[in-house]
Symmetry: C2
Protein backbone atom coordinates (compact mmCIF):
# COMPACT_ATOMS: atom_id res chain seq x y z
CA UNK A 1 0.00 0.00 0.00
CA UNK A 2 1.50 3.27 -1.14
CA UNK A 3 0.81 6.65 0.48
CA UNK A 4 0.83 9.38 -2.14
CA UNK A 5 -0.70 12.37 -0.41
CA UNK A 6 -0.12 13.29 3.24
CA UNK A 7 -1.85 16.10 5.16
CA UNK A 8 -0.37 17.60 8.32
CA UNK A 9 -2.98 19.49 10.31
CA UNK A 10 -2.27 21.88 13.18
CA UNK A 11 -4.34 24.23 15.29
CA UNK A 12 -7.48 22.06 15.25
CA UNK A 13 -7.94 23.43 18.76
CA UNK A 14 -7.12 27.13 18.82
CA UNK A 15 -5.50 27.25 22.26
CA UNK A 16 -3.15 24.32 21.57
CA UNK A 17 -0.38 26.42 20.07
CA UNK A 18 2.24 23.79 19.22
CA UNK A 19 0.68 22.61 15.95
CA UNK A 20 0.06 26.14 14.74
CA UNK A 21 3.69 27.13 15.33
CA UNK A 22 5.07 23.91 13.86
CA UNK A 23 3.19 24.79 10.67
CA UNK A 24 4.88 28.21 10.72
CA UNK A 25 8.24 26.50 11.14
CA UNK A 26 7.59 24.25 8.16
CA UNK A 27 6.42 27.19 6.03
CA UNK A 28 9.96 28.52 6.45
CA UNK A 29 11.59 25.09 6.27
CA UNK A 30 9.52 23.03 3.80
CA UNK A 31 12.29 20.51 3.23
CA UNK A 32 11.70 19.13 6.74
CA UNK A 33 8.32 17.72 5.70
CA UNK A 34 9.16 16.90 2.09
CA UNK A 35 9.91 13.33 0.96
CA UNK A 36 10.39 12.14 -2.61
CA UNK A 37 7.74 9.45 -2.65
CA UNK A 38 4.71 11.54 -1.62
CA UNK A 39 3.38 15.09 -1.48
CA UNK A 40 2.75 16.86 1.82
CA UNK A 41 0.11 19.51 2.44
CA UNK A 42 -0.09 21.52 5.65
CA UNK A 43 -3.45 22.78 6.88
CA UNK A 44 -4.13 25.28 9.65
CA UNK A 45 -7.46 23.99 10.85
CA UNK A 46 -9.02 26.67 13.06
CA UNK A 47 -7.41 30.12 12.63
CA UNK A 48 -10.25 32.05 14.29
CA UNK A 49 -10.05 29.95 17.45
CA UNK A 50 -6.29 30.55 17.53
CA UNK A 51 -6.74 34.31 17.28
CA UNK A 52 -9.33 34.19 20.05
CA UNK A 53 -7.13 31.80 22.07
CA UNK A 54 -10.00 29.38 22.56
CA UNK A 55 -10.43 25.68 21.90
CA UNK A 56 -13.21 26.51 19.46
CA UNK A 57 -15.63 29.27 18.49
CA UNK A 58 -18.98 27.46 18.25
CA UNK A 59 -18.29 23.71 18.43
CA UNK A 60 -15.30 21.41 18.95
CA UNK A 61 -13.87 21.07 15.43
CA UNK A 62 -12.50 17.63 16.32
CA UNK A 63 -16.07 16.35 16.82
CA UNK A 64 -17.53 17.81 13.58
CA UNK A 65 -16.61 15.07 11.10
CA UNK A 66 -19.43 12.56 11.41
CA UNK A 67 -20.61 11.81 7.86
CA UNK A 68 -24.15 12.87 8.72
CA UNK A 69 -22.93 16.23 10.04
CA UNK A 70 -20.70 16.86 7.02
CA UNK A 71 -23.71 16.18 4.79
CA UNK A 72 -26.05 18.36 6.88
CA UNK A 73 -26.28 21.81 5.29
CA UNK A 74 -28.22 23.10 8.29
CA UNK A 75 -25.01 22.95 10.38
CA UNK A 76 -23.35 26.25 9.59
CA UNK A 77 -21.43 27.06 12.77
CA UNK A 78 -17.89 28.36 12.32
CA UNK A 79 -16.47 24.91 12.92
CA UNK A 80 -19.26 23.24 10.94
CA UNK A 81 -18.18 25.31 7.95
CA UNK A 82 -14.50 24.59 8.55
CA UNK A 83 -15.22 20.86 8.77
CA UNK A 84 -17.02 20.92 5.41
CA UNK A 85 -14.13 22.87 3.87
CA UNK A 86 -11.48 20.53 5.31
CA UNK A 87 -13.51 17.56 4.13
CA UNK A 88 -13.58 19.09 0.64
CA UNK A 89 -9.80 19.69 0.73
CA UNK A 90 -8.59 16.40 2.19
CA UNK A 91 -11.57 14.12 1.62
CA UNK A 92 -14.35 13.79 0.88
CA UNK A 93 -14.77 11.11 3.50
CA UNK A 94 -15.25 7.77 1.76
CA UNK A 95 -13.51 8.86 -1.45
CA UNK A 96 -10.66 11.02 -0.26
CA UNK A 97 -8.00 12.91 -2.20
CA UNK A 98 -5.52 12.32 0.63
CA UNK A 99 -4.24 9.02 1.98
CA UNK A 100 -3.04 10.00 5.42
CA UNK A 101 -3.72 12.74 7.98
CA UNK A 102 -1.54 13.79 10.91
CA UNK A 103 -3.32 15.98 13.46
CA UNK A 104 -1.24 17.73 16.12
CA UNK A 105 -2.72 18.38 19.57
CA UNK A 106 -1.46 19.22 23.05
CA UNK A 107 -2.79 18.27 26.48
CA UNK A 108 -2.40 19.62 30.00
CA UNK A 109 -2.00 15.98 31.08
CA UNK A 110 1.43 14.47 31.63
CA UNK A 111 1.09 12.25 28.55
CA UNK A 112 4.50 12.87 26.98
CA UNK A 113 4.29 12.17 23.26
CA UNK A 114 1.16 10.09 22.84
CA UNK A 115 0.27 8.74 19.42
CA UNK A 116 -3.47 8.40 18.98
CA UNK A 117 -4.70 5.66 16.70
CA UNK A 118 -8.31 5.42 15.60
CA UNK A 119 -9.09 1.79 14.92
CA UNK A 120 -6.62 -1.05 14.69
CA UNK A 121 -5.23 -0.58 11.20
CA UNK A 122 -1.90 -2.41 10.88
CA UNK A 123 -0.19 0.32 8.87
CA UNK A 124 -0.93 2.94 11.53
CA UNK A 125 0.16 0.56 14.24
CA UNK A 126 3.49 -0.21 12.58
CA UNK A 127 4.13 3.47 11.96
CA UNK A 128 3.46 4.22 15.65
CA UNK A 129 5.66 1.29 16.72
CA UNK A 130 8.46 2.64 14.52
CA UNK A 131 8.26 6.04 16.25
CA UNK A 132 8.26 4.34 19.65
CA UNK A 133 11.31 2.28 18.67
CA UNK A 134 13.19 5.58 18.19
CA UNK A 135 11.50 7.52 21.02
CA UNK A 136 10.96 4.92 23.76
CA UNK A 137 8.93 7.23 26.03
CA UNK A 138 6.22 7.52 23.39
CA UNK A 139 2.81 6.06 24.31
CA UNK A 140 0.28 4.54 21.92
CA UNK A 141 -3.39 5.20 22.68
CA UNK A 142 -6.03 3.42 20.61
CA UNK A 143 -9.58 4.71 20.26
CA UNK A 144 -12.15 2.26 18.85
CA UNK A 145 -12.97 3.17 15.25
CA UNK A 146 -16.64 3.85 15.96
CA UNK A 147 -15.73 6.45 18.62
CA UNK A 148 -13.38 8.34 16.32
CA UNK A 149 -15.70 9.11 13.43
CA UNK A 150 -16.24 12.71 14.53
CA UNK A 151 -12.49 13.38 14.52
CA UNK A 152 -10.91 15.52 11.84
CA UNK A 153 -8.40 12.86 10.86
CA UNK A 154 -11.21 10.43 10.02
CA UNK A 155 -11.53 12.13 6.60
CA UNK A 156 -8.67 9.98 5.29
CA UNK A 157 -8.41 6.18 5.45
CA UNK A 158 -5.32 6.34 7.65
CA UNK A 159 -4.31 8.79 10.33
CA UNK A 160 -2.20 9.47 13.38
CA UNK A 161 -2.94 11.97 16.11
CA UNK A 162 -0.12 13.53 18.11
CA UNK A 163 -1.19 14.40 21.65
CA UNK A 164 1.68 15.98 23.53
CA UNK A 165 2.01 17.26 27.07
CA UNK A 166 2.08 18.48 29.65
CA UNK A 167 1.71 21.92 28.16
CA UNK A 168 -0.74 24.56 29.36
CA UNK A 169 -3.20 26.00 26.89
CA UNK A 170 -2.13 29.20 25.20
CA UNK A 171 1.64 28.80 25.20
CA UNK A 172 4.58 27.05 23.54
CA UNK A 173 7.14 24.88 25.28
CA UNK A 174 10.42 24.49 23.42
CA UNK A 175 10.98 20.92 24.67
CA UNK A 176 7.50 19.79 23.60
CA UNK A 177 7.83 21.60 20.26
CA UNK A 178 11.06 19.77 19.45
CA UNK A 179 9.66 16.38 20.46
CA UNK A 180 6.64 16.88 18.22
CA UNK A 181 8.88 17.90 15.34
CA UNK A 182 11.00 14.78 15.86
CA UNK A 183 7.94 12.51 15.94
CA UNK A 184 6.76 14.06 12.67
CA UNK A 185 10.19 13.60 11.09
CA UNK A 186 10.20 9.91 12.00
CA UNK A 187 6.63 9.49 10.74
CA UNK A 188 7.41 10.92 7.32
CA UNK A 189 10.61 8.86 7.13
CA UNK A 190 8.60 5.71 7.84
CA UNK A 191 6.02 6.44 5.15
CA UNK A 192 8.77 7.19 2.64
CA UNK A 193 10.66 3.98 3.44
CA UNK A 194 7.51 1.86 3.12
CA UNK A 195 6.69 3.61 -0.15
CA UNK A 196 10.14 2.59 -1.40
CA UNK A 197 9.43 -1.01 -0.46
CA UNK A 198 11.95 -0.86 2.35
CA UNK A 199 9.82 -1.11 5.49
CA UNK A 200 11.90 -0.55 8.61
CA UNK A 201 11.88 -3.00 11.50
CA UNK A 202 9.46 -2.15 14.35
CA UNK A 203 9.50 -5.40 16.36
CA UNK A 204 6.91 -8.18 16.55
CA UNK A 205 4.45 -6.50 18.90
CA UNK A 206 3.85 -3.18 20.61
CA UNK A 207 2.33 -1.93 23.86
CA UNK A 208 -0.97 -0.13 23.30
CA UNK A 209 -3.33 1.60 25.73
CA UNK A 210 -6.88 0.84 24.62
CA UNK A 211 -9.53 3.36 25.66
CA UNK A 212 -11.97 1.85 28.18
CA UNK A 213 -14.01 4.88 29.24
CA UNK A 214 -13.92 8.13 31.21
CA UNK A 215 -14.25 9.10 34.88
CA UNK A 216 -16.28 12.17 35.81
CA UNK A 217 -15.49 14.69 38.51
CA UNK A 218 -17.55 14.49 41.70
CA UNK A 219 -20.17 17.26 41.63
CA UNK A 220 -22.28 18.91 44.32
CA UNK A 221 -26.06 19.23 44.37
CA UNK A 222 -25.87 22.16 41.96
CA UNK A 223 -23.75 20.19 39.51
CA UNK A 224 -20.53 22.09 40.29
CA UNK A 225 -17.22 20.23 40.37
CA UNK A 226 -16.41 19.78 44.07
CA UNK A 227 -13.21 17.70 44.03
CA UNK A 228 -9.75 17.73 42.46
CA UNK A 229 -7.68 14.98 40.92
CA UNK A 230 -5.73 13.69 43.93
CA UNK A 231 -2.08 14.69 44.02
CA UNK A 232 -1.17 10.98 44.13
CA UNK A 233 -2.88 10.49 40.75
CA UNK A 234 -1.90 13.84 39.15
CA UNK A 235 0.77 13.44 36.44
CA UNK A 236 0.60 9.62 36.55
CA UNK A 237 -0.83 9.16 33.05
CA UNK A 238 -0.37 5.58 31.77
CA UNK A 239 0.68 4.34 35.24
CA UNK A 240 -1.26 1.63 37.03
CA UNK A 241 -4.38 2.72 38.94
CA UNK A 242 -5.61 -0.02 41.26
CA UNK A 243 -8.69 -0.46 43.41
CA UNK A 244 -8.19 1.53 46.61
CA UNK A 245 -5.73 4.05 45.11
CA UNK A 246 -6.40 7.74 45.80
CA UNK A 247 -8.31 9.29 42.91
CA UNK A 248 -9.89 12.58 44.07
CA UNK A 249 -9.59 14.97 46.97
CA UNK A 250 -12.77 16.88 47.72
CA UNK A 251 -12.44 20.62 48.28
CA UNK A 252 -12.94 19.84 51.97
CA UNK A 253 -9.96 17.48 51.97
CA UNK A 254 -11.55 14.03 51.91
CA UNK A 255 -9.97 11.37 49.71
CA UNK A 256 -12.04 9.39 47.20
CA UNK A 257 -10.49 6.14 45.99
CA UNK A 258 -10.69 4.18 42.74
CA UNK A 259 -13.12 1.32 43.14
CA UNK A 260 -13.12 -0.64 39.91
CA UNK A 261 -11.92 -4.22 40.28
CA UNK A 262 -9.93 -4.14 37.07
CA UNK A 263 -6.67 -2.20 37.16
CA UNK A 264 -6.66 0.73 34.75
CA UNK A 265 -4.06 2.95 33.10
CA UNK A 266 -5.42 6.53 33.15
CA UNK A 267 -4.83 9.09 30.41
CA UNK A 268 -5.78 12.74 29.92
CA UNK A 269 -5.52 13.16 33.70
CA UNK A 270 -6.77 16.65 34.62
CA UNK A 271 -7.08 17.83 31.00
CA UNK A 272 -8.30 21.44 31.19
CA UNK A 273 -10.37 21.12 28.03
CA UNK A 274 -12.59 18.49 29.64
CA UNK A 275 -13.64 20.51 32.71
CA UNK A 276 -16.74 21.79 30.94
CA UNK A 277 -17.69 18.16 30.28
CA UNK A 278 -16.81 17.43 33.95
CA UNK A 279 -14.47 14.65 32.84
CA UNK A 280 -11.48 14.15 35.16
CA UNK A 281 -9.57 11.51 33.16
CA UNK A 282 -9.87 8.56 30.81
CA UNK A 283 -9.29 4.91 31.64
CA UNK A 284 -7.39 2.58 29.36
CA UNK A 285 -6.33 -1.05 29.34
CA UNK A 286 -2.71 -1.91 28.61
CA UNK A 287 -2.46 -4.59 25.93
CA UNK A 288 0.15 -5.95 23.58
CA UNK A 289 -0.72 -5.91 19.90
CA UNK A 290 1.03 -7.98 17.23
CA UNK A 291 2.59 -6.14 14.28
CA UNK B 1 -0.90 48.80 63.96
CA UNK B 2 -3.95 46.61 64.24
CA UNK B 3 -5.69 44.91 61.30
CA UNK B 4 -9.43 44.75 61.93
CA UNK B 5 -10.91 43.83 58.55
CA UNK B 6 -9.31 41.41 56.09
CA UNK B 7 -10.56 40.66 52.57
CA UNK B 8 -9.60 37.46 50.73
CA UNK B 9 -10.19 37.79 47.01
CA UNK B 10 -10.23 34.91 44.51
CA UNK B 11 -11.03 34.56 40.84
CA UNK B 12 -9.77 38.02 39.86
CA UNK B 13 -8.76 36.26 36.64
CA UNK B 14 -11.51 33.89 35.57
CA UNK B 15 -9.29 31.12 34.20
CA UNK B 16 -7.12 30.93 37.34
CA UNK B 17 -9.31 28.44 39.16
CA UNK B 18 -7.44 27.96 42.43
CA UNK B 19 -8.71 31.10 44.15
CA UNK B 20 -12.30 30.47 43.11
CA UNK B 21 -12.25 26.93 44.51
CA UNK B 22 -10.45 27.97 47.70
CA UNK B 23 -13.34 30.39 48.31
CA UNK B 24 -15.75 27.47 47.86
CA UNK B 25 -13.72 25.45 50.36
CA UNK B 26 -13.86 28.26 52.90
CA UNK B 27 -17.61 28.72 52.37
CA UNK B 28 -17.94 25.17 53.70
CA UNK B 29 -15.16 25.54 56.26
CA UNK B 30 -15.32 29.15 57.50
CA UNK B 31 -13.36 28.40 60.65
CA UNK B 32 -10.21 28.01 58.53
CA UNK B 33 -10.18 31.72 57.75
CA UNK B 34 -11.65 32.99 61.02
CA UNK B 35 -9.45 34.52 63.72
CA UNK B 36 -10.64 36.21 66.92
CA UNK B 37 -8.91 39.54 66.46
CA UNK B 38 -10.30 40.50 63.03
CA UNK B 39 -13.15 39.84 60.63
CA UNK B 40 -12.60 38.12 57.29
CA UNK B 41 -14.63 38.69 54.15
CA UNK B 42 -14.26 36.57 51.03
CA UNK B 43 -14.94 38.09 47.62
CA UNK B 44 -15.29 36.30 44.30
CA UNK B 45 -13.97 38.98 42.01
CA UNK B 46 -14.92 38.01 38.44
CA UNK B 47 -17.67 35.36 38.24
CA UNK B 48 -18.53 35.98 34.60
CA UNK B 49 -14.93 35.46 33.48
CA UNK B 50 -14.86 32.21 35.48
CA UNK B 51 -18.01 30.94 33.80
CA UNK B 52 -16.56 31.84 30.41
CA UNK B 53 -13.17 30.38 31.42
CA UNK B 54 -11.35 33.52 30.35
CA UNK B 55 -8.92 35.83 32.08
CA UNK B 56 -11.41 38.67 31.66
CA UNK B 57 -14.46 39.68 29.66
CA UNK B 58 -13.63 43.24 28.55
CA UNK B 59 -10.51 44.33 30.42
CA UNK B 60 -8.01 42.85 32.87
CA UNK B 61 -9.69 43.39 36.26
CA UNK B 62 -6.31 43.53 37.94
CA UNK B 63 -5.46 46.68 35.96
CA UNK B 64 -8.76 48.52 36.62
CA UNK B 65 -8.01 50.13 39.98
CA UNK B 66 -6.24 53.35 39.10
CA UNK B 67 -7.96 56.10 41.06
CA UNK B 68 -8.74 58.03 37.87
CA UNK B 69 -10.41 54.96 36.33
CA UNK B 70 -12.45 54.20 39.44
CA UNK B 71 -13.68 57.81 39.37
CA UNK B 72 -14.40 57.75 35.63
CA UNK B 73 -18.09 57.01 35.10
CA UNK B 74 -17.52 56.65 31.35
CA UNK B 75 -15.72 53.33 32.00
CA UNK B 76 -18.57 50.86 32.15
CA UNK B 77 -17.01 47.63 30.86
CA UNK B 78 -17.82 44.46 32.80
CA UNK B 79 -14.57 44.71 34.71
CA UNK B 80 -14.86 48.50 35.03
CA UNK B 81 -18.16 47.97 36.82
CA UNK B 82 -16.75 45.17 38.97
CA UNK B 83 -13.80 47.36 39.96
CA UNK B 84 -16.13 50.15 41.07
CA UNK B 85 -18.21 47.66 43.04
CA UNK B 86 -15.16 46.06 44.69
CA UNK B 87 -13.83 49.52 45.49
CA UNK B 88 -17.17 50.35 47.14
CA UNK B 89 -17.10 47.09 49.13
CA UNK B 90 -13.48 47.03 50.29
CA UNK B 91 -12.42 50.64 49.79
CA UNK B 92 -12.97 53.28 48.73
CA UNK B 93 -9.34 53.73 47.86
CA UNK B 94 -7.86 56.38 50.11
CA UNK B 95 -10.44 55.89 52.88
CA UNK B 96 -11.03 52.16 52.92
CA UNK B 97 -13.36 50.05 55.06
CA UNK B 98 -10.85 47.18 54.94
CA UNK B 99 -7.28 47.14 56.21
CA UNK B 100 -5.78 44.28 54.25
CA UNK B 101 -6.45 42.44 50.95
CA UNK B 102 -5.21 39.03 49.89
CA UNK B 103 -5.58 38.33 46.17
CA UNK B 104 -5.05 34.78 44.93
CA UNK B 105 -3.64 34.17 41.45
CA UNK B 106 -2.00 31.33 39.54
CA UNK B 107 0.66 31.36 36.83
CA UNK B 108 1.81 28.95 34.16
CA UNK B 109 5.36 29.85 35.21
CA UNK B 110 7.31 27.63 37.58
CA UNK B 111 7.11 30.22 40.37
CA UNK B 112 6.12 27.95 43.23
CA UNK B 113 4.36 30.01 45.89
CA UNK B 114 5.33 33.59 45.13
CA UNK B 115 4.18 36.35 47.44
CA UNK B 116 3.69 39.60 45.58
CA UNK B 117 4.27 42.80 47.52
CA UNK B 118 3.34 46.18 46.13
CA UNK B 119 5.64 48.75 47.66
CA UNK B 120 8.04 48.24 50.51
CA UNK B 121 5.71 48.41 53.51
CA UNK B 122 7.39 46.80 56.53
CA UNK B 123 4.23 45.06 57.78
CA UNK B 124 3.72 43.29 54.44
CA UNK B 125 7.38 42.40 54.30
CA UNK B 126 7.39 40.86 57.77
CA UNK B 127 4.23 38.91 57.01
CA UNK B 128 5.82 37.54 53.84
CA UNK B 129 9.03 36.71 55.70
CA UNK B 130 7.00 34.84 58.32
CA UNK B 131 5.38 32.71 55.60
CA UNK B 132 8.80 32.06 54.05
CA UNK B 133 10.19 31.04 57.44
CA UNK B 134 7.55 28.25 57.49
CA UNK B 135 7.56 27.48 53.76
CA UNK B 136 11.19 27.92 52.70
CA UNK B 137 10.52 27.49 48.97
CA UNK B 138 8.33 30.59 48.95
CA UNK B 139 9.60 33.54 46.87
CA UNK B 140 8.98 37.22 47.55
CA UNK B 141 8.47 39.46 44.52
CA UNK B 142 8.25 43.20 45.04
CA UNK B 143 6.56 45.54 42.55
CA UNK B 144 7.29 49.27 42.96
CA UNK B 145 4.28 51.01 44.46
CA UNK B 146 3.70 53.26 41.44
CA UNK B 147 3.41 50.22 39.13
CA UNK B 148 0.83 48.49 41.31
CA UNK B 149 -1.84 51.17 41.50
CA UNK B 150 -4.05 49.47 38.92
CA UNK B 151 -4.09 46.24 40.94
CA UNK B 152 -7.20 45.16 42.80
CA UNK B 153 -5.40 44.84 46.11
CA UNK B 154 -4.37 48.50 45.97
CA UNK B 155 -7.83 49.42 47.33
CA UNK B 156 -6.59 48.73 50.88
CA UNK B 157 -3.49 50.22 52.54
CA UNK B 158 -1.88 46.81 52.89
CA UNK B 159 -2.00 43.74 50.68
CA UNK B 160 -0.40 40.49 49.67
CA UNK B 161 -0.77 38.78 46.33
CA UNK B 162 -0.41 34.99 46.05
CA UNK B 163 0.94 33.93 42.67
CA UNK B 164 1.22 30.17 42.49
CA UNK B 165 2.43 27.83 39.81
CA UNK B 166 3.07 26.11 37.60
CA UNK B 167 -0.58 25.45 36.93
CA UNK B 168 -2.23 25.64 33.51
CA UNK B 169 -5.19 27.94 33.04
CA UNK B 170 -8.58 26.35 33.47
CA UNK B 171 -7.78 23.60 35.96
CA UNK B 172 -7.04 22.80 39.60
CA UNK B 173 -3.95 21.06 40.93
CA UNK B 174 -4.36 19.48 44.34
CA UNK B 175 -0.74 20.16 45.35
CA UNK B 176 -0.97 23.85 44.41
CA UNK B 177 -4.37 24.17 46.09
CA UNK B 178 -3.03 22.84 49.38
CA UNK B 179 0.06 25.06 49.28
CA UNK B 180 -2.08 28.13 48.71
CA UNK B 181 -4.36 27.13 51.58
CA UNK B 182 -1.34 26.70 53.85
CA UNK B 183 0.10 30.09 52.87
CA UNK B 184 -3.26 31.69 53.68
CA UNK B 185 -3.43 29.89 57.05
CA UNK B 186 0.02 31.20 57.98
CA UNK B 187 -0.89 34.70 56.83
CA UNK B 188 -3.99 34.89 58.97
CA UNK B 189 -2.09 33.44 61.94
CA UNK B 190 0.54 36.15 61.57
CA UNK B 191 -2.00 38.97 61.47
CA UNK B 192 -3.75 37.54 64.51
CA UNK B 193 -0.54 37.23 66.48
CA UNK B 194 0.51 40.77 65.68
CA UNK B 195 -2.96 42.01 66.63
CA UNK B 196 -2.50 40.30 69.98
CA UNK B 197 0.81 42.14 70.44
CA UNK B 198 2.74 38.92 70.06
CA UNK B 199 4.58 39.36 66.75
CA UNK B 200 6.34 36.16 65.71
CA UNK B 201 10.01 36.09 64.81
CA UNK B 202 10.77 36.36 61.07
CA UNK B 203 14.55 36.98 61.12
CA UNK B 204 16.48 40.21 60.57
CA UNK B 205 16.29 40.33 56.79
CA UNK B 206 14.68 38.55 53.88
CA UNK B 207 15.50 37.78 50.24
CA UNK B 208 13.32 39.76 47.84
CA UNK B 209 13.14 39.77 44.04
CA UNK B 210 12.61 43.36 42.92
CA UNK B 211 10.94 43.84 39.54
CA UNK B 212 13.34 45.37 37.01
CA UNK B 213 11.36 45.11 33.76
CA UNK B 214 10.05 42.71 31.14
CA UNK B 215 11.47 40.97 28.06
CA UNK B 216 9.38 40.76 24.92
CA UNK B 217 9.16 37.82 22.53
CA UNK B 218 11.00 38.20 19.22
CA UNK B 219 8.46 38.99 16.49
CA UNK B 220 8.54 38.74 12.71
CA UNK B 221 7.83 41.54 10.23
CA UNK B 222 4.10 41.05 10.71
CA UNK B 223 4.40 41.33 14.50
CA UNK B 224 3.82 37.61 15.12
CA UNK B 225 5.74 35.85 17.89
CA UNK B 226 8.46 33.86 16.10
CA UNK B 227 10.47 32.34 18.97
CA UNK B 228 9.94 30.29 22.11
CA UNK B 229 11.41 30.58 25.58
CA UNK B 230 14.51 28.39 25.30
CA UNK B 231 14.27 25.04 27.06
CA UNK B 232 17.34 25.99 29.11
CA UNK B 233 15.44 28.98 30.53
CA UNK B 234 11.98 27.34 30.77
CA UNK B 235 10.98 26.58 34.39
CA UNK B 236 13.99 28.44 35.83
CA UNK B 237 12.04 31.23 37.49
CA UNK B 238 14.11 33.07 40.13
CA UNK B 239 17.33 31.35 38.99
CA UNK B 240 20.30 33.35 37.75
CA UNK B 241 20.22 34.47 34.09
CA UNK B 242 23.62 35.74 32.94
CA UNK B 243 24.87 37.42 29.79
CA UNK B 244 25.33 34.75 27.12
CA UNK B 245 22.78 32.31 28.58
CA UNK B 246 20.22 30.85 26.14
CA UNK B 247 16.99 32.86 26.26
CA UNK B 248 14.93 32.08 23.14
CA UNK B 249 14.88 29.53 20.36
CA UNK B 250 13.43 30.82 17.11
CA UNK B 251 10.90 28.61 15.36
CA UNK B 252 13.69 27.79 12.91
CA UNK B 253 15.91 26.55 15.73
CA UNK B 254 18.38 29.41 16.25
CA UNK B 255 19.30 30.32 19.82
CA UNK B 256 19.06 33.92 21.07
CA UNK B 257 21.06 34.70 24.19
CA UNK B 258 20.57 37.13 27.06
CA UNK B 259 22.73 40.16 26.52
CA UNK B 260 22.30 42.43 29.51
CA UNK B 261 25.47 42.99 31.50
CA UNK B 262 23.71 42.76 34.84
CA UNK B 263 22.68 39.28 35.96
CA UNK B 264 18.91 38.94 36.35
CA UNK B 265 16.50 36.60 38.10
CA UNK B 266 13.56 35.99 35.72
CA UNK B 267 9.96 35.51 36.83
CA UNK B 268 6.69 34.78 35.04
CA UNK B 269 8.70 32.79 32.49
CA UNK B 270 6.37 31.77 29.63
CA UNK B 271 3.20 32.99 31.37
CA UNK B 272 0.35 32.20 28.97
CA UNK B 273 -1.60 35.31 29.95
CA UNK B 274 1.15 37.58 28.64
CA UNK B 275 1.31 36.16 25.09
CA UNK B 276 -1.17 38.74 23.83
CA UNK B 277 1.13 41.42 25.22
CA UNK B 278 4.06 39.53 23.61
CA UNK B 279 5.86 39.46 26.95
CA UNK B 280 8.05 36.36 27.45
CA UNK B 281 9.14 36.94 31.06
CA UNK B 282 9.98 39.53 33.70
CA UNK B 283 13.41 40.40 35.05
CA UNK B 284 14.08 40.96 38.72
CA UNK B 285 17.03 41.81 40.91
CA UNK B 286 17.73 39.70 43.98
CA UNK B 287 18.21 41.85 47.05
CA UNK B 288 18.17 41.44 50.78
CA UNK B 289 15.78 43.67 52.70
CA UNK B 290 15.98 44.40 56.43
CA UNK B 291 12.96 43.59 58.58
Amino acid sequence: MKIKKVAIVGGTHGNEFTGTFLLRRWTNNPSEITRESFTTKTLWANPKAFYENKRYIDADLNRCFLRADLDNEAIHTYEGNRAKLINALLGPKGNPAFDFTFDIHTTTGNMGITLILIGEDQYQLRLAAFIKAHMPDVNLLCIPRELGQGNLSSVTPRMLGLEIGPVPQGLLRHDIFEQANEAMRLSLDYIHQVNKGDEPESGSNVEVFMLRGTVGFPVDDDGNICAMVHRELQDRDFKELKKGDAMFSTLNGETITFNEEKTAYPAFINEAAYYDLKIAFSLTDKISMPL
